[in-house]
Each structure stands twice: as structure tokens, then as C-alpha cells.
Assembly symmetry: C2
Homo-oligomer: 185 residues x 2
Amino acid sequence: MVRWEPGAAGRLREAAMALYAEQGYDGTTVAQIADRAGVTARTFFRYFADKREVLFAGSEELERVIADAVIAAPAEAGPMEAVAAGVLAAGEAFVGRRDFARQRYAVVAATPELREREFIKMASLVEAFRAALQERGVAPGRAVLAAETGITVFRVAFERWVEGAEADLVVVIRETLGELSELTS
Amino acid sequence: MVRWEPGAAGRLREAAMALYAEQGYDGTTVAQIADRAGVTARTFFRYFADKREVLFAGSEELERVIADAVIAAPAEAGPMEAVAAGVLAAGEAFVGRRDFARQRYAVVAATPELREREFIKMASLVEAFRAALQERGVAPGRAVLAAETGITVFRVAFERWVEGAEADLVVVIRETLGELSELTS
DNA sequence: TTCGGTGATGTCATCGTGTGACATCACTGA
DNA sequence: TCAGTGATGTCACACGATGACATCACCGAA
């Protein structure tokens, strides 16, 4: 007889998503999430630093994707081309996951506390972006601006993708990049 | 004899800033802030929704400043000129307040929870920006992108100003705007 | 002057979040 | 067989946040 079912982290994630969607974030307690996952509240906090993090754990993966793409961009590419490469690579990570992204987006958008966490995760993406750009030799100040701009494009495109009809995030990102260069020219 | 000293909100703000700087945000309890301000913890929560908000209350003012400037921009100005007008107006609101801005920036930057709140305040600025741009007749999608870009410039410029030698935020904003148009051209 | 209303504050009780300390128990390898 | 390991449970507790109710200086009307 097993003492506990494996995969507690995954069960907690699913339970949290479901409960946040059903009852709202504020209306859900950690104890409820833990119950549904078949563990105690104490165990919840062993896997996730706080009640928000259960929806955001794993976002470091995206940092890696972006950094890799930026570094792998052709040597002759300018800063903005490298940024585009990073943003597009991030977009590719969401292929076939629009339904999931929509559900998650709805939950996050409905709760200021979750939006806050989302923003700080984006700041981590900016940092990964910036470091990768500097590794390419982009000057520090310029790298910050380029990284911030890249993530801004990603956020705008992501929102359009989730709310719009186009199924491919990469397409929306391309449109948004084009629109930005029009806007600032 | 007065039952209580007036200006509780201001005293709470000052006490919080001082304690967060001295002991860190996590190391400070609401009870300590309230004590120093000469009130009870319950009163703290009557003025501020939570322990973070005490550093951020009043940021609606900046929303107004931005919106007014965007709307007041010349009718013939394009979206990006209107954005520039908004960002520059926001910059002017900080004339002569660099020392204060630096201290506050240091406190916020040191604590993830406070950075989260800062980000969501920036999102409010984006929203104010967007609404003002749409009022000028900028198309919705374009307005979102322009507003996001404007606040990105503001954030980057603000950080450079706080960390750098240039005393005038407006100058730094002008530089940053120029750099952005170079970058995306 | 008196008296009822008002508003800022205090007091008390309570719930939820988050964490440290320690106990438990299946599993593993020597 | 047995000591160690790791995931979990149990317990206690501090702090954040909120609702309900009490208090009391002040102000205006009768």
C-alpha cells in the first residue's frame, strides 16, 4: 500500500485552476485546493511559495526559450531582429495551447493579485531577454530598452491572440512587430 | 483637548517609508507602522487597503496628468507624438523630487511584493494612456500598443534617471524616445 | 445650553496566509 | 534487519486583513 499518490504538484495545479475558475481566486482557500488534491495545506506550501504561484510555476521555461533564440539569431542580425527572434520563439511555445491559454488568461485577468504576479513574471522575461541581448554585444542601455520593448510586444500580441480569432500566436506577433515599427517610424 | 492628531494618512505614509527603509518591508509589521504614526493597526487599514498600498496611494494623479497631456496635444499630432506628450508630462511631475524618488525606488526595488504593486500601477497608467489616445481618435488596437510603448519608455527612462547622473527626468525621457525610434526603424 | 448626529478612532473577534519544528512511515540499500 | 532518506502530516504561531460594535470630541439645531 502506497503512503501517498505521486504527482502532488500537478494535482495541486489542476485543483487550483479549477477552483479559481469556479469560485474565483479570493473565494478559494488553500485548504480547499489541498483537499481536492488529497494533501494538506502545509504540503501546498512545500510545492508553491504562495497561493498565486501555483498558476505561474514553470515560467522559467519561457525565459530559456527566449534567451536561446536571441543567442541563436544570426550574428549579423541587429538588436531588433534579435528581439523579434526571441519573441517569435516564445510565441511558438504556445502552439496548440490556445484553449488552455484562454482559460488561464480569464482567471488571471479577473484578479488583481494574479495580474500582479503575471507582471513580475514578465519582468523576469525582460531580464532574460536583456541578458541574452547583452551576450550578443548589444550595449547595456540599449539592451534594456530592446528587452522591454520585446516583452511589450509579446504581451500585446498575446492578449490579441487570446481575445481574437487568429489561431496562431506567431502570426499575431508578426503583425504586432510590424505595427510597432510603423508606429515609431 | 483633541481626541486625535490630524493627518493620520500622511503620518502612516512617512512611518511606513522610514520603517521599510530601515528594516525592510518583510521585517516591518503593520502594527509597527501604526505605532509610529500614533494609531492602531485597524486604522491603518481604514486608510490603505493593504500593507503595500501605503507606498502607492496617490498614483491616480499621474494618470490624470498623462491623460490631460495626451488630450491636449495638437490635433495634427500623430499617435506617437501624443504618446511623447503624455510621457513628457509625466516626467515633469517629478521635477525636484529626485532624492525622494531615489529613496522610494530603492525600497520598492528591494522587495518583490512591492515591485508587483508597482507594475500594476503602471498598468493603470497604460489604461489611462490608452483611453486618452482613443479619445483622440487613435484606433483601439493601435492605442493599446502605443500606450504600452509609452509606459515602457517612461519606466526605462525613470530607472535611468534614478540610477544616473542627469538631474532632469524630462531630458532622459527625450533621449529614451529618440533611442526607441532608432531601435525600431 | 443641551442634545442628537456625525466621523475618526479604538476594541474585540475571527479567518486565511505562510512558516518553523517535529513526528510519521513507506521505501531503499547495505 | 536496520539506519537513512524523503514526502507528508501535525501542531503551534505570527501576521495580514476584515466585520461588528463601542467610544468620544465636535458641530449644528432647538
